[in-house]
Amino acid sequence: MAAPGYLCAGDANLLPATMNVILPDQGIRVMEHGPGTVGTLLQELGINPLEVIVSRNGKLVPEQTVIGGNDQIRIIRIAHGG
């Protein structure tokens, strides 16, 4: 049992989850994000889901996918034209 105010290893799920979010401009944001969805993340970032595709840990996922923990999220802008 850890002293008051400290967390032990088993309490990892109580730690604020931090996700690495790679933005369309290649910038990286480390975000604290509780259990939420790709859709809510895009909404927080002010991004229209129709203008991007999103991968979680390298795999393409739809907006309804639950994300959090140590997920690596990549938001790729769909370039117009071509």
Binding site: N48, I53, Q64, A79, G81, G82
Partner: protein, 311 residues
């Protein structure tokens, strides 16, 4: 909205138990990688069949910029083509001469045609008019898309004729088509709104077909991504000068809130087209007095542009 969840916390495909990669809001379903590929190809095949866009023995010139839409178009057509005996493909890339943009997409086009074994021809604005687009646009940046559009169409048509093509296929998707409808309405340009170049009803035109016209832009990106064919390529530096950029953002916002908006716009255009068939608004076909190309007035757009550019 309810959906079945995969072990990783994501929804699963409506057709199998695999994790979904996309949600289709109009169809209200999730699809996995395998099924979005099948679905996109089936809808393109259906567009082609319903509109009679390709026939046995055709030689289709595919406008291949190397960007996502034309890449998807060439991949899909190369897979579907055995359905039309004797039909063949030739890919045509127009190099407008845009620094920092076109070189990457031309390389992508060369790699793709090499992989698919499709004949590839590259033509340039320099060949057509003696200068690259960057030079032509000096001091005229706001007209970028108009000037580029006129010259690109001419370059593609000339190259397609030279290649012996019977039709030109372009990668316009549902988003492009809906944007064009709204732009023509905003400009009050009814003749352009109802112009249908897909039939080639006049022998003067090579038919222009748009097999991807029913596919949303995002589905095309996903179609390529799940097959390892999606590349992050630069966007044209002149995009922000275009009316289309504003219309694109606005329409994407509406589509996100009201799925089906884009499809409804395109369907509205088809209804107006039917009402206007045979009426004076369609205009008459003339021949350009300088180059002889078909046009709606005395001079074609290319010759008018040559004059204004002093070419």
């Amino acid at each position: 909205m309810g959906f079945s969840a995969a072990p990783g916390g994501g929804p699963v495909c409506a057709c199998c138990a695999e994790p979904a990669v996309i949600y289709q809001p109009v169809q209200k379903r999730h699809l996995c990688g395998t099924h979005i590929v099948r679905d996109v190809e089936a809808r393109v095949a259906s567009t082609i069949r319903e509109a009679g866009q390709i026939h046995a023995g055709d030689r289709i010139a595919v406008g291949l910029s190397g960007g996502k839409d034309s890449t998807a178009l060439l991949v899909i057509l190369s897979r579907l083509l055995p359905s039309w005996p004797g039909a063949g493909l030739v890919a045509i890339t127009v190099d407008e001469g845009i620094a920092g943009y076109r070189a990457d997409t031309i390389r992508a086009a060369e790699t793709l045609t090499g992989r698919l074994g499709v004949e590839h021809r590259i033509v340039s604005f320099c060949d057509l008019i003696g200068d690259d687009l960057d030079t032509l646009l000096t001091g005229r940046e706001a007209q970028a898309c108009t000037i580029c559009g006129i010259l690109r169409k001419k370059a593609l048509t000339d190259a397609a004729r030279a290649a012996g093509a019977t039709a030109i296929a372009t990668g316009h998707n549902l988003d492009d088509e809906a944007q064009s409808v709204l732009m023509n309405v905003l400009r009050g340009d009814l003749p352009r709104l109802i112009r249908n170049t897909g039939t080639g009803q006049s022998a003067a035109f090579l038919p222009r077909i748009k097999p991807l016209a029913a596919i949303p832009e995002k589905e095309i990106a996903v179609y390529l991504f799940v097959q390892g064919l999606f590349s992050v390529l630069p966007e044209c530096p002149y995009t922000n000068y275009a009316l289309r950029a504003g219309v694109r953002t606005m329409l994407a916002g509406f589509e996100n809130l009201h799925p089906g908006t884009m499809q409804h716009l395109v369907e509205s255009k088809k209804i107006i087209e039917r009402y206007c068939a045979g009426t004076p608004v369609m205009g008459h076909l003339h021949r350009c007095r300088e180059c002889g190309d078909p046009c709606s007035g005395d001079l074609c757009q290319v010759c008018r542009l040559r004059h204004s550019l002093g070419k």
